[in-house]
């Protein structure tokens, strides 16, 4: 989107239960490339928070570094946000969540941020079942540093500089299930009808809720089978050896039925195959979820929908039995044993 996005709103926008209209959930103007999938996801988040009747200030939004990690600035401007360091958002979110169990925690990361530098923290935040929503805006590349392959890039795909990715891609959803995540979903940035309900479900899940969202990068996308047909502008840009030209693009949308498959054409002319889980899918069966994901992967399909959910999720606070009152609200009287107790301690040390 551009800096010129008109701010005009119809005065009679519908309101949610809190009496807020959706603009209460918006953020600053996005500085991402026009047509970037990430902006669509931001829109989905805004919609989900609106529909869920979340008090914006009772939500904390956290991210790492990357185009994707910038997005928290572009939604929920009445929420505190923390754009931390590259790959380490899970730890910051963990600390924040420990400090105050009464807020909703919303994390945004990129595939570089999560699957490369952040892999260790990702694995461990899953293992701890921290009560948060964690979205990866997955574009298979490092957008902000100009298009290098990420660890989720498809093997065989070509990036902007024409290099072929030689490595197998990390399937974050499958990995999360393997690690025992209690909520794992997958979706596509352009499919608002699927995305919004998934985000709402994730935010309602008491534990770690992971959504891997395929989110095409307008500028550096590197999807399998990218056709790279003759294109005057591309040649021009290649010849001058500056990857400085980003044509204006439209958001890619995809709307399709549950149970069906859809081929989606990306900005560079390549296709991805999405397969929406059928109505009758049982997201409570972990082994079958794993199998389905593996099988889809073998067929080069991306399974979308709620893949797995553990209805008996016990989140970190419950596990370690922290007090019901937020720790950051405790007062000296709750926390400090006082001078008398200290005398006893001293006595024990003589």
């Amino acid at each position: 989107m551009t800096y010129l996005r008109p701010k005009f709103r119809h005065p009679e926008l519908p309101k949610n239960k809190l009496g807020y209209s959706v603009d209460k959930y918006e953020g600053a103007l996005s500085t991402l490339c026009a047509g970037c999938g990430h902006d669509s996801i931001s829109a989905g988040i805004i919609q989900a928070a609106f529909e869920l009747n979340i008090e914006p200030h009772k939500l904390a939004k956290l991210s790492g570094i990357g185009c994707s990690s910038k997005t928290p600035a572009y939604f929920l401007s009445n929420s505190h946000g923390f754009n931390s360091v590259h790959g380490r958002m899970p730890s910051v979110a963990t600390g924040a969540a420990m400090a105050n169990r009464d807020l909703t925690y919303f994390g945004v990361s990129g595939d570089g941020d999560t699957a490369s530098i952040g892999m260790g923290q990702f694995v461990h935040v899953v293992r701890r079942n921290l009560n948060m929503t964690y979205i990866v805006m997955n574009n298979g590349c490092y957008g902000l540093t100009k298009g290098q392959d990420s660890a989720t890039a498809d093997r065989g795909s070509k990036n902007k500089s024409g290099e072929v990715n030689l490595f197998q891609s990390i399937d974050l959803a499958s990995l999360a299930i393997e690690l025992g995540a209690t909520f794992v979903a997958q979706s596509f940035s352009g499919d608002k009808s699927q995305l919004v309900p998934l985000i709402k479900a994730a935010m309602s899940h008491p534990g770690f809720a992971f959504i891997n969202v395929i989110s095409p990068c307008v500028t550096f996308n590197n999807n399998l089978g990218s056709t790279k047909s003759y294109d005057f502008v591309r040649e021009h840009v290649e010849a001058t050896a500056t990857i400085d030209f980003v044509p204006e693009m439209k958001e890619i949308t995809a709307n399709y039925e549950k149970g069906s498959s859809k081929e989606v054409k990306l900005h560079d002319g390549s296709y991805i195959q999405l397969k929406k889980l059928a109505e009758g899918w049982d997201p409570l069966d972990r082994l079958s979820a794993m199998n389905a994901v593996q099988n889809a992967r073998a067929k080069n399909e991306i399974l979308t929908g709620l893949l797995y959910m553990n209805p008996n999720s016990v989140d970190l606070h419950e596990l370690i039995e922290t007090s019901n009152k937020p720790l950051n609200s405790l007062k000296k009287s709750d926390l400090c044993p006082g001078s008398e107790a200290l005398k006893a301690v001293n006595a024990g040390l003589r």
Binding site: R88, S91, T322
Partner: protein, 611 residues
């Protein structure tokens, strides 16, 4: 220190053990007994970086004068480790004693003419008294403590009292231990002249002091300071900080009604995650800390830079060990000073505190949260293995119940209502410290976006050069404000008595104070100051400026504190003379004196007498 006159309450005993054999508790019994006899005593662990089967030493200095630093020259060596025996024999001072297991005859190569041998058939006694192999192992240690009691005049009732305390709730273990002690006593009584001329005499020099290690004191201090979120990753020698915190939290932080914890302790997956959690928690309004040692500090560099720039409070305990790299993980050093002061790329500076005693660990731990929140920046408590993992005699802990937690400039909903426009990084008060809000404070006011990238006074992203420059300058203003907020130095004299001064910090205090005394006996007068915090308070500057020569005592190779003094105060390096120790062992008074008198061209009688 040759000479054969009676040395009451003034000697060094060193125990040479194999680790994993249960010697630690027996040796502590010995130390604690001396403490309970009212005599100043200081033990040092010199232990290997492994779990079982390697040499470990425990060195106990007894000092009527109250000198609690390490001292060279071993008066009595308790040799329970054949592996290290040859070096152990060599380490005893002429005229000293060598206590060994005489179950087997001592080989000729271990025999020195100039020392005294005390053979006790420890193994044999154990084999006779116990059938279980593990009991044999364990009680061997108790038996030699009994023998030492007889040799050095430790009051038996004191030992019994200690055992009673130790086995409270497991009373059935007491008689067996008493019996083993008695076996040692009896053997000495039967076979040797006792007591030795190095021996103990009850005194009343301890007062209401306590004995504890610095790490436990840090843990306790954090409980008192109201820390609620603790994230850490195990690393020697810092591990026991959080372990102690956890134990005290079990005692003091379980909600009586619900049985739930008023604390969250997270063992992180590494140090990057630990400091990340601390930053997240502090950002969200909880007091939170982590503890680590050198390698962990190195890993935290990026996050420390974030906290500095994003102005998020954070408390970090660095229990320093010998570096660089993995170095000697079980040896002490003060060599992370420079790294901690300027951790992270870009222009960064961090507040450091330097405790010297367990009491100060407790106090500074509590203060560090106030400072971190007042200044909205990381505060690093620079302790070391010597302070952290050795037991020290210390003033008792004290807590003023009227003391409130100083949470710094935080706006609540009512405050926000009153404000026209909230500027997270707006220097309203002119002290460089700006106002913050916790998430969730107000539905429409006071929310802001925290980032490590450039922003303006309203926390809005900008790449504007001026905004960047203004912000960097304000951070320096805050730094200057910090100088008079952090712990002031300890100055040892009301007005100067000499043109020479000594400057030290942390665990060098013990040896430095002893050195001052000894120098004074030689009519070499030096003034003294102990640094307790970085940035330096004006008093530090004044002290240095009002002396010609400053001996800067530190336990590292590269004179790191001296570097900070030059950089921050613009001191001429010529007047700063380094007194360094960096072999992994705590610095001694003798070492300090040698270096100072060497510089002053003073021939030192006491030293010469010793050599």
């Amino acid at each position: 220190m040759a000479g054969k006159k009676d040395k009451v309450n003034d000697f060094v005993v060193r125990f040479a053990n194999v680790n994993g054999t249960g010697s630690a508790s027996a040796n502590f019994l010995f130390t604690k007994a001396i403490f309970r006899m009212g005599i100043p005593v200081t033990p040092k662990n010199i232990f290997p970086s492994n779990i079982q089967g390697l040499p470990t030493w425990y060195e106990v200095r007894v000092s009527e004068k109250g000198y609690l630093g390490r001292r060279e020259g071993i008066d009595l060596l308790v040799a329970v480790n054949p592996q290290s025996m040859m070096n152990d024999v060599k380490s005893v001072r002429t005229g000293g004693y060598f206590l060994y297991d005489s179950s087997k005859k001592l080989h000729a190569e271990y025999i020195r003419e100039d020392i005294n041998y005390i053979g006790i058939p420890l193994m044999q006694m154990c084999n006779e008294a116990y059938s279980d192999a593990r009991q044999r192992q364990l009680f061997k240690n108790i038996i030699y403590v009994g023998a030492l009691a007889a040799l050095l005049d430790i009051e038996f009732s004191v030992l019994e009292g200690l055992l009673a305390d130790q086995f409270k709730g497991k009373e059935k273990l007491i008689p067996m231990n008493v019996k083993a002690l008695q076996m040692g006593v009896d053997y000495i009584h039967k076979n040797f002249k006792y007591p030795l001329e190095i021996r103990l005499e009850r005194r009343d020099l301890i007062g209401d002091a306590i004995m504890i290690d610095g790490n436990s004191a840090c843990g306790l201090g954090a409980v008192y300071a109201g820390a609620t979120v603790v994230a850490w990753y195990p690393i020697t020698p810092s591990t026991s900080v959080v372990e102690a915190f956890g134990n005290y939290a079990d005692e003091f932080r379980v909600d009586k009604e619900t049985g739930k914890n008023n604390v969250a302790i997270i063992q992180a997956e590494d140090e990057l995650a630990a400091i990340g959690m601390v930053i997240g928690a502090n950002w969200n309004g909880a007091r939170s800390f982590t503890a680590t040692s050198g390698p962990g500090l190195s890993l935290m560099n990026e996050f420390l830079g974030l906290a500095y720039f994003a102005e998020v409070p954070a408390v970090l305990v660095d229990v320093q060990r010998s570096g660089p790299s993995t170095g000697m993980p079980t040896r002490t050093q003060q060599s992370d000073v420079l790294e901690a002061a300027y951790a992270s790329h870009g222009d960064t500076k961090h507040v450091l505190l330097f405790p010297s005693t367990p009491k100060e660990c407790f106090d500074m731990m509590a203060d560090s949260f106030d400072f971190a929140e007042l200044l909205q920046t990381p505060v690093i408590l620079m302790t070391d293995l010597d302070l952290g993992m050795n037991d020290h005699i210390s003033q008792p802990f004290a807590w003023d119940d009227k003391r409130e937690y100083n949470r710094g400039k935080v706006l609540n909903a009512a405050d926000l209502e009153k404000i026209e426009k909230f500027g997270r990084y707006l220097d309203v008060d002119g002290d460089g410290i700006t106002y913050r809000t916790y998430p969730g404070t107000h539905p429409t006011k006071g929310s802001f976006f925290t980032r490590g990238t450039s922003r303006d006074e309203y926390a809005t992203y900008t790449e504007d050069s001026d905004a960047y420059h203004r912000n960097m300058d304000r951070l320096i203003k805050k730094w200057n404000t910090a100088k008079e907020i952090v712990s002031p130095p300890q100055v040892y004299q009301e007005k100067n008595n000499s043109k020479n001064g000594i400057l030290f910090f942390g665990t060098s205090q013990y040896a430095a104070e002893e050195a001052m005394d000894l120098l004074k006996e030689e009519k070499v007068i030096v003034d003294a100051i102990r640094i307790r915090a970085f940035p330096f308070n004006k008093t530090v500057e004044d002290f240095i400026n009002s002396h010609d020569k400053i001996f800067v005592i530190e336990q590292n190779r590269d004179a790191q504190m001296k570097s900070l003094l030059m950089i921050e105060l613009g001191i001429n390096p010529e007047k700063l003379i380094s007194v360094l120790n960096y072999d992994g062992l705590p610095i001694t008074a003798e070492n300090i004196i040698k270096q100072i008198t060497g510089n002053l061209n003073h021939k030192f009688k006491i030293l010469d007498a010793k050599n």
